[in-house]
Symmetry: D2
Subunit: 428 residues, 4 copies
């Protein structure tokens, strides 16, 4: 977050809107009367929506597009997914594929719906998906799963913290039973305990079925905490249901090193001829890129090393009703490229934090369910297959971008598509 | 990414879909014929869209909601933002606020449009926004800005790498001129060079005006690279326009420690009485939480330490046409809470990687522009104000969630809103 | 590792010894004849030592002090600890203390021998030790232990990797038995398996008794690997006994998050009067420091957050025959300071990577054993107590330096002692 | 730092010395009388030393070896390097080499003195050094240098923090002048400023000549801080001369990404025949190892990626009077191995945090100066050459260990040397 002192003049020009230090006078509390609150809570009646649009300074032109007829017609669909509803944002959806996945759960050729506003994204992922498909598809498997909640307990002394940990370690079965009363889909499967002086951090790990499960694990963990407060022989001075060791909504090394949601690996071997005809480069060149860029990642301090998982995953998450905030944590992992003796390319991605679901959250909303239906993965029984498709999509994206960077085409694709030049055959 | 050996049985049950090792036979290439490609590239005619929906296994029910009349009507709006277009995904939008911002660029009371499918999110951010507003608003300033592209050059020897660096360091003005020919909004403002054996990684940093600017900096950097290849007295064996030191689409310590997009700090002092009446807790309790959770963050290996920036930022980005993939990098920073002598709470957030814009990308699309219009921040001249609103929103979210965790209300809010219990006055 | 382009001129001046680019001509292979090898391997006879000193350009003056009479007399003591022996380096030893430890294993008042060449170090740790002692001593406990070796196995496919992991997870008992045949002190206690594409990384965790144990775990792991190669139903293409996931000789987030050697917490509560009379500051001031410096650590990207564990631990390790290279990994952890309601200070340190022993390595050498004897902790049965003393020493150092930084005395202590001004009463 | 709940029973057995929870009763303050303080401060008279040995429970046997005649004779040499002196610790020294360095500053064949108690270490580094020498030596250059001190300033508001930063950015010349008054060798060369809410962290970077320079930069920074307090138009509520952003005595990503001490790269190309005859493996095998182990490092969360820099550097630092605590920060960097087309191996190391000196600290002590004299690098004018030798040594160690791991010899070397089996020709 540091700034070089020679840049401060620039910084002041921008930070202070070019008006010099007097601009700083604006950075003061203003105790004048506040405007009206947003009325109606989670209510969705036409009247309440209209009242919201009557708030000061909301332009009518915005209302026309956000609260259009379609949005108002389907508004009841959003009853349990939003508060202060004023309409819908519309994000264009493109299809990437076909993407052949030979997975433990996902099997077949998928057209993957991606919701994005970024030019060239769908074209690039589609190019990678086709390459995988022509190579016979990618092998893929969910390797682990779990979602963590991490309460913290503050005791008087280290001795009390140790005594608590001793008790808690013998109470796992009881915690499991307490958790089970709060959810029929979630299951407490593991527990880690960290003593830091007189503090104890617990990490409760749950299986969450076909749901992403963050609310489920919060509710279950709160129940466990209340059991702890009732039953523990040593009482904490204070406690919190989450003390920031769960990796919720952020990239953390802890989640990267264990699992958050689903961990999935996907691999493909692409023959030399395909590399040449489709990507216009060689496995050697791509391996050279990989070697340099892995160290580039290391020298930039990334968590894991990869190219751009976020592009595909954000678009997939928005299309399919996943929690888009989880892009923060889902987009870590490891990409590995190797040149094989016959000039083929071995490529693998491993994403340990795919926090996804096919039930709950936004998965039942109109267009979100439709996107899952395009994949054939809506509803119970499909979360693992969806995670495998997500990892396969990430693999497609890595192949395409690293191919483009190696062949020197990276910039041109963006330039052309973002500026509207007609597509050449190759990139679609 | 490791799995405890005792968990492997679970893992196999899930990874292999409960069918044992024979399931692994599925993880093999399938060289059968591939299905049809997605037709039409970036074309948007009704015929092409219909041809896409005629691809195998795309359900008609999905077409009805995704390619509804409204989507088809406005399809031309998406011409330069998507390929393989099949319709739109609709995400409900709620208003959080009013949020009073006393910033160097943003000034006034904002109703912030958030597009999310997660229950309780808008309510929680709205609660925090109101708290800030009642406290007189938050002070806020853009502190730095810049967007990086990071090419890599491979030489024969360390000696060549050093010679190249010597030349490059004296060529900054020329690089700046070359970059200037590719863009009227972007400006090369800084350069870092890293020698790693016979490799050199460059980090070119640009100002990008009111655009997020990732394409702009790629095009400018490619031009610089071509100049390098033409002019450098030492020639690289090979080079790439990006070798993974830019932090593009991922959380990195490098971007956290410098800037990516805009760096913004926002602060507020909340009097004890407001903490008590609005959050039902105390500054002492919140400071206790902060102390424990900062170390929780440290022990989970997060980049920076904060609560849940991603919730608000992902929703804001989707609503306002930002690149949702940048949630990966934007959601790092530092939250600090202190109890003051009079029982008030000092709270500050600093987000160094707010890669946002008010022109370019998805900002001109129908609903996205409408959301920016609600903020009064659409188009040129508003990117810094938008970044300040984003940071202020993050501060609102931290206050609300940490208040809820400290008061013990965190779980209940989620439980109630996600399950549809009528809202109580307090949370709205 | 990056350099700002404006600094390149400086860099060239220094990198190239001020002689400009022609200096780069030196960076070329020189295939001239090599001088003589160092004779005699691990032999320690007087003749062999003399032959080593007869190598080209070794100054007689160096021989006089390094191969002095004392060194030659005790040379046989070093027979299994060094190769190419030429004498001894002598490091001055000072005593810090008394340090009162109320630990699960260490109990009593310790005078801690520290071998260092850094002025003010012993004085500073001694000041902290006295403060702890006057406060009634610190509470302390070993909380976990284990040493990891991490082989890697490369398979043909992800399917093979999964099949291997399934087999390995059921072979833990066999691995344990194989390991047990190689060591009577070591015990395989845990195993983690990481699938990354067609690679599998294993982390074998051992208890190592009173030895630091790195060689023990390497030998045991190699035996396990050979068993794997013999018995696994799936054969790796190649494998390595260590593939860099063990955290050996380096600070890693993985070791920080689990354990490497011993994990120990130590805490003390220091009354307000002692803070004032001994440190000339207040608990409030020290807590202010802690809050700012924890974020300073976060913003500098440290693993854990603390002040300067390395100062005390390096000196303790050298004095007591520990592996000084392990300073790299041992010096991570978490320091926490809190002001209590009565103005007292609560301080705790937690060090999860104290890789120490009281048998094996250098612990039996003359002065090294003597230093352990000063602590009463030489030989079997004392490793955990030694680890508790090490953590308590780290706590002493944190109290002293943070006290000095808060009181504004930090610089003066170093200035005075390093420049030979007579000591004032306070700092000793 | 977390512990799996199933391991808690083990943990309790060990943590509580096998005596169950009642052992926790020991973790309580003991307010009994404290034993005597260590007398005499930094005095070195025979009487004072004797008084120290008369402290309770110091064994006479320890005194005999630590305070031997030689130690007492040279005790005055340690007058400004230790307090509470009681004698010397003796660490055996072995020679690694010859090591041919073709550096910008170091040029020639070096026998490198290493002080260590770890068997096989000198033999392994010597093997790598010989390999480099037979390959024509390694190319090497200092690439950057600087040592940072990082004070922190707490203001009332963000506005004040911004105003301060504006002033400070224009005061660099004044700060430089203030610093120059405190030191004739040190020079303030750069400054970074970080605003985090109402806090400002400064990073002052100095050139320190031939000294490691930590005390020099502390004294200079304190002077700057006093100037700040006198002159700044905005006054901090409180400030600290170091707020934990300097990376002093700890591995940090910030220092890794910039420089701390000297940054040095060293590279060598080893022909296929040498790889085969000396390391009994192939460049292909070593490149396979490198690819897997780089990802192993990434998955373990190391800062940079390398094998075991700490082994050689700790031994070199102890021998040559460097600050051994700096092993914590010096042992980060990047190792890269590539197979070339002709079967040769390209190997490079880059270490950005070599905080070393040839004057000051322990460099003038008897054996420490003698070790520097063996290298011909004692006293002014040699710090950069010493840093280049250190990096070359690190390269030697990487070649040797990765060769051994690839050839499958790693374990055997340790087994044989640590247990006293006669050396085979190959390993020396």
């Amino acid at each position: 977050m540091a700034i070089h002192y020679r840049r401060i003049a620039d910084y002041l020009r921008h930070a202070l809107a070019g008006r010099g230090m007097e601009q700083l006078a604006r950075l003061q509390p203003d105790h004048g009367p506040a405007p009206q609150r947003v009325p109606g809570g989670s209510a969705l009646t036409a009247d309440v929506i209209a009242a919201r649009w009557a708030l000061p300074n909301l332009p009518a032109s915005a209302r026309d597009v956000i609260a259009d007829e379609a949005a108002l017609r389907e508004r009841e669909a959003y009853a349990h997914n939003i508060e202060h509803f004023i309409g819908t944002a519309r994000v264009p959806v493109g299809l990437a594929g076909p993407l052949r996945v030979n997975g433990a759960h996902a099997l077949g050729d998928y057209y993957v719906p991606l919701a994005t506003t970024e030019a060239a994204l769908v074209a690039s992922y589609s190019r990678g998906a086709l390459l995988i498909t022509e190579a016979g598809g990618c092998s893929c498997a969910v390797l682990n799963e779990g979602v963590t909640r991490a309460p913290g307990f503050a005791f008087e002394t280290l001795g009390d913290a140790v005594a608590f940990v001793a008790w808690a370690s013998m109470s796992f079965a009881a915690f499991k039973a307490v958790a089970a009363e709060t959810t029929k889909y979630g299951e407490l499967v593991d527990m880690q305990l960290t003593v830091e002086g007189n503090h104890v951090h617990a990490q409760f790990e749950f299986m969450t079925g076909d749901a992403a499960g963050q609310n489920m694990v919060t509710i279950a963990t709160e129940a466990i905490c209340h059991y702890v407060i009732d039953q523990s022989p040593v009482h904490p001075r204070y406690w919190f249901v989450e003390a920031n060791m769960s990796g919720d909504k952020k990239a953390t090394t802890h989640s990267f090193m264990t699992v958050r949601g689903k961990k999935v690996s996907a691999e493909v071997t692409v023959p030399a001829t395909l590399i040449e005809t489709r990507l216009h480069t060689t496995a050697r060149g791509m391996a050279d890129y990989a070697r340099m860029s892995v160290l580039g990642g290391v020298m930039s301090g990334s968590i894991g090393v990869h190219g751009h998982y976020a592009n595909g995953l954000a678009a997939l998450f928005i299309a399919c009703g996943q929690d888009a905030a989880c892009v923060a944590e889902a987009t870590v992992g490891v990409t590995r490229f190797e040149e094989l003796d016959d000039g083929a390319l071995y490529a693998a991605v491993t994403l340990p934090n795919l926090i996804v679901g096919t039930v709950g959250g936004g998965t039942h909303l109109p267009t979100q369910k439709a996107c899952l239906d395009i994949l054939g993965l809506s509803g119970p029984g499909h979360a693992r297959a969806f995670a495998e498709v997500a990892a396969s999509l990430a693999l497609a994206g890595e192949l395409s971008i690293i191919g483009a960077l190696t062949a020197g085409h990276f910039t041109r694709a963006h330039q052309r598509l973002a500026r509207g030049t007609p597509a050449s055959p190759r990139s679609t």
